[in-house]
Symmetry: C3
Subunit: 472 residues, 3 copies
Amino acid sequence: MNKTSSNTMALAPNPSNKRETVCIFGTGDFGRALGHKMIQSGYPVVYGSRSTQISNLIPKDAEVLGHAEAAQKAAVIIVAIQRQHYNFLAPLAEVLHGKVLVDISNNLKLNQYPESNAEHLAQLLPGSKVVKGFNTVSAWALQSGTLDASRQVFICGDDVEAKQMVMNIVRGLGLTPVDKGSLLAAQEIENYPLQLFPMWKFPIFLSLGLGLFFFFYSLALDVIHTYIYENNNFLFFIAITVPNRVFPVMALTLLGLVYLPGIFAAIIQLYRGTKYRRFPNWLDKWMLARKQLGLIALAFASLHAVFTLVTPLRAFASWRTSRQIISQALSNETVPLDHTNAWLSDSYLAMGMLGFFLFVLLGITSLPSVSNSVNWREFRFVQSKLGYLALILCTAHTMIYGGKWFLNPSAYKWYLPDIYMLSLVVPCAVLVVKFVLIFPCVDKPLTRIRQGWERKPRYSEQSNYIINKSAV
Amino acid sequence: MNKTSSNTMALAPNPSNKRETVCIFGTGDFGRALGHKMIQSGYPVVYGSRSTQISNLIPKDAEVLGHAEAAQKAAVIIVAIQRQHYNFLAPLAEVLHGKVLVDISNNLKLNQYPESNAEHLAQLLPGSKVVKGFNTVSAWALQSGTLDASRQVFICGDDVEAKQMVMNIVRGLGLTPVDKGSLLAAQEIENYPLQLFPMWKFPIFLSLGLGLFFFFYSLALDVIHTYIYENNNFLFFIAITVPNRVFPVMALTLLGLVYLPGIFAAIIQLYRGTKYRRFPNWLDKWMLARKQLGLIALAFASLHAVFTLVTPLRAFASWRTSRQIISQALSNETVPLDHTNAWLSDSYLAMGMLGFFLFVLLGITSLPSVSNSVNWREFRFVQSKLGYLALILCTAHTMIYGGKWFLNPSAYKWYLPDIYMLSLVVPCAVLVVKFVLIFPCVDKPLTRIRQGWERKPRYSEQSNYIINKSAV
Amino acid sequence: MNKTSSNTMALAPNPSNKRETVCIFGTGDFGRALGHKMIQSGYPVVYGSRSTQISNLIPKDAEVLGHAEAAQKAAVIIVAIQRQHYNFLAPLAEVLHGKVLVDISNNLKLNQYPESNAEHLAQLLPGSKVVKGFNTVSAWALQSGTLDASRQVFICGDDVEAKQMVMNIVRGLGLTPVDKGSLLAAQEIENYPLQLFPMWKFPIFLSLGLGLFFFFYSLALDVIHTYIYENNNFLFFIAITVPNRVFPVMALTLLGLVYLPGIFAAIIQLYRGTKYRRFPNWLDKWMLARKQLGLIALAFASLHAVFTLVTPLRAFASWRTSRQIISQALSNETVPLDHTNAWLSDSYLAMGMLGFFLFVLLGITSLPSVSNSVNWREFRFVQSKLGYLALILCTAHTMIYGGKWFLNPSAYKWYLPDIYMLSLVVPCAVLVVKFVLIFPCVDKPLTRIRQGWERKPRYSEQSNYIINKSAV
């Protein structure tokens, strides 16, 4: 189909409002679902099938013909067959010449083949215009209209006209086409529906591991130690008390781990005196996982907030309160307000709440639609400045919570530090090094390095210079 | 306007930065607002009007001419007149030949005419290129720039070049064009601004009805029964106590109703032995309302969370607490910690909080920008796996809350079950059937049916086979 | 490059999957970063440089040539040099004729030059096709792939083909091109990365000023007055009590300020008898800042909610509770439930929670992805109807909180009203005037004015009629 015919088609008066016929090769589940949807949307559909005997599964308004006859009836052909059977299309090369072939296939594993199915099809039929698309849509979602997760249809292809035709069909079905460029993007598009949160795997396993460690650590010190030495059975602490000791520790540690790689990167750049060398692989991966680590930290912080607020509703809390009050009442004493205590209690609560508030703000700005509406400078301002402020507030919250217990030997059950002390290690390390890094005598050379300056420029052509990620 | 002239225009050096003249037919409110906006954005504007006497309402930098003269001055003509007066454009057919006509009209009712206004215009003037657009923008928003709700301008039309020209004008006005395909989409675009949350109507009315029923049920048992039999006037319970009994009941019931249609669908498919038959209409509608039902359930759950957390701040709660403590103190007794009670209290709180946390996660993933950034597999994982986990946790929360009261006759005032028992009906039914459905002997045939297998395939051509929605 | 050659290129079979060579003028930081990214994405890159001696900073797979030779090797040339040096491109005009020049430059200040850099380049080289782009992407983000804030690349240009070519490269790099129209948009695109929340400046400074005033006002009355006259040192109130008196006052005042400009606008329109005159400048600015004011009000309301819920956990609160209970126990009295008090306490809490709930709903609908998915009618319904309901509930919450203290002289320390009374001024004024405005005798003429009717139409051509913003 050349430019002129396409234009003629578009300009032609369209009195009957009839849409262009679409051909579908293959009568499998997805081919039928797509056909039904197209007929509903007003497209005449013709199926190309090996056997032209009428199957009852095919939508009744569709025609069923042999492949060659079906192909001749339409400009766009949906190839709803599996990659293994692409070879049988080779004899049809002449009929398919100049036609738009839409490859909708999916694989079973990531990167199953060296080249994508769509590119394979394009090499097989160089005279046809191959467009990749529809593979991210589920047959069920197509039918039901509840396309919350997949209203977007990723399209790619080397021919602009062909892509436009397919995108118009996508719109005609009530979906949103997203142009991903040339056919080189097909591999990515084919891998897309096979992924299950690939960016989240490492952060989630790290959190699970850390969480289990802290859980059993807290269980040992808060429940088992109490049971052995104080003869108190507080096994029910497993429901709220122990989790609510683990949640804040996880939140603070993970928040520290969000900012730690940036610190490492700065130290490496200062040590090397250049930014034009690749970071170690582990640091690269870590830096790319920061957003996910931050969101998991936010989840733990939210759980900590709710588990804390619920305290007065617990039977244990009201029992403890009434016991304290009754013992005071029976001994006929009136305790005056302990001002130091009131200060500590109020300030650690205030720090925690303000830190949590900033943390939630950070979470909101990481929503795709919000982060798309701010520019790079604004995003860095929020994530870096507000992020560090949140880290400082949450660290201070934990320190004041600990209060004077740091120096008290009785806080060290079995000679082990309490769990909240462990949680301070990473954030304190980050804050101390960060504090050193903002000294002018350190900050100046670092800034110059990040602007491209090198301490000892080398001219050997062999070295593989790759522009480095500057740390945030 | 042919291809060549369009290209020439784009390539021509543009030293004076002058934009192309735009013609507006009609000097009504929206026509004037659009004209002002265009002049502000640098477009010369010429109005086509029946009377060319200068009206003071028309922007002073605009020219006013007769329709024919005005049309000759521009390639794009905004038709800002009502559908009833389209006929008077017929005599201008020759002047308007090849011009781009932008239909910006709206109707007063949904589907007021058999065909859309834009299609009507295109049939009237087959030589012109009709583009639909701007009808979703409000005159006020156009002027003020506070276009939060309507920065998007939906565009459709059969001529690609004409659409591009209109989309460039849209961008020139600082708005975002959204290409909705051919002129067939005009009906949908014209209906769009008339809608008021059409998907929400049924879920909201259902929630209102259920909510009122549960409110009066709780009022009868918790306030009126207490007043009659215990002579306690707890009318002030209407403010917090009674709502906070209705909110969790609504949340749990609605969450159950989100998963119930999927259960029905599975049973129907198992019974019929095929997925190639349409579900009953009520089930179709119900399945499409699940997202809205879920979000309303989340709203009730959030209200329940806040209304519960506020408990210790209530005058009634502090009065009750102090009365209990004082009576204990006066009788000189020290009650030991009731471990069963502590277990029950802590575990129902923990279940509730974890369930609510998952529920909020589900809500966040249903934000358009988040659900657009996950694929179908990830969306199903979150909505199905995490959703059922939330349902299980919330059901367990309610059951443990009830505790041993289920078997206690005094819990049945007026021989009626308490409100929380009613809330368990739907979710328990869902969970029990779901539990049966995941048994291999049931799950296997169901999976095969959903993959396209049929128990007794039929070959009668008459039956209207439509691929069914497989339940989630 | 004409239409035909472009088509030929797209249609040509692409067996080696090689992408088109891209030329980059300039070997600065961003030029190198872009080159590295392009090589990674499969584009052959050739640098045009004054000195062709091989610098070790340039990616090793890239070629380095003189400007003219480099330009001849590619159809697309990235101009990664600063505006001051554009003049040296003039002698290359012949070589660059017909080439696509991508201007990626940024300025140091907003509107630094009368015309944008891209337009300046286009005037300098009228034979080339200038496209603006890539300036909003950071060199770091380009390399690291963590493009949360800048996956979008804004593109503009007068030549459609040239723009398409650049947009394909953008997609090839894994970024999302956003077409902003003709080269006139270059100024806006160049200003974009220099902004730091421009719409937020006025609302934030206003909130800071108001917040400081209320903080010291509350400090004086709640801490200093108590210290002087009651000899109570409550300095620790600074942490939670005083902030939690300022937060609700700020939230309610700012929420009132969101609806106040609409009231002013209505009064001005009624007084003038026309909507066709521009509002005073301060009112225009105020109306455009309403969304930001509302979100800041929501932030304060959220802080108020958390600071209130945390009350029972404060050492001060538990000390006060136990002191009250013990004094009751010691005097051997049992206080009966004060029903008025229970009513007041429960209803002000319920009002506050419902108001806050609606407020959060409003905040959610102002998320870009949510507000884009509702139409103008739905947006107005939420923002206007639900917004006023939230304002009414929050005002009632504050009034009932005050209770009978309004008339009690002891509430007026130093003859000054308490801080919560001050917070009622703006919202009460808004609600009273709004109540008057919805009377039919006022609403009718206002509606007619907003539909375009004028009380005394004038015909003097000199007056500068501009369609006014009608208030929401």
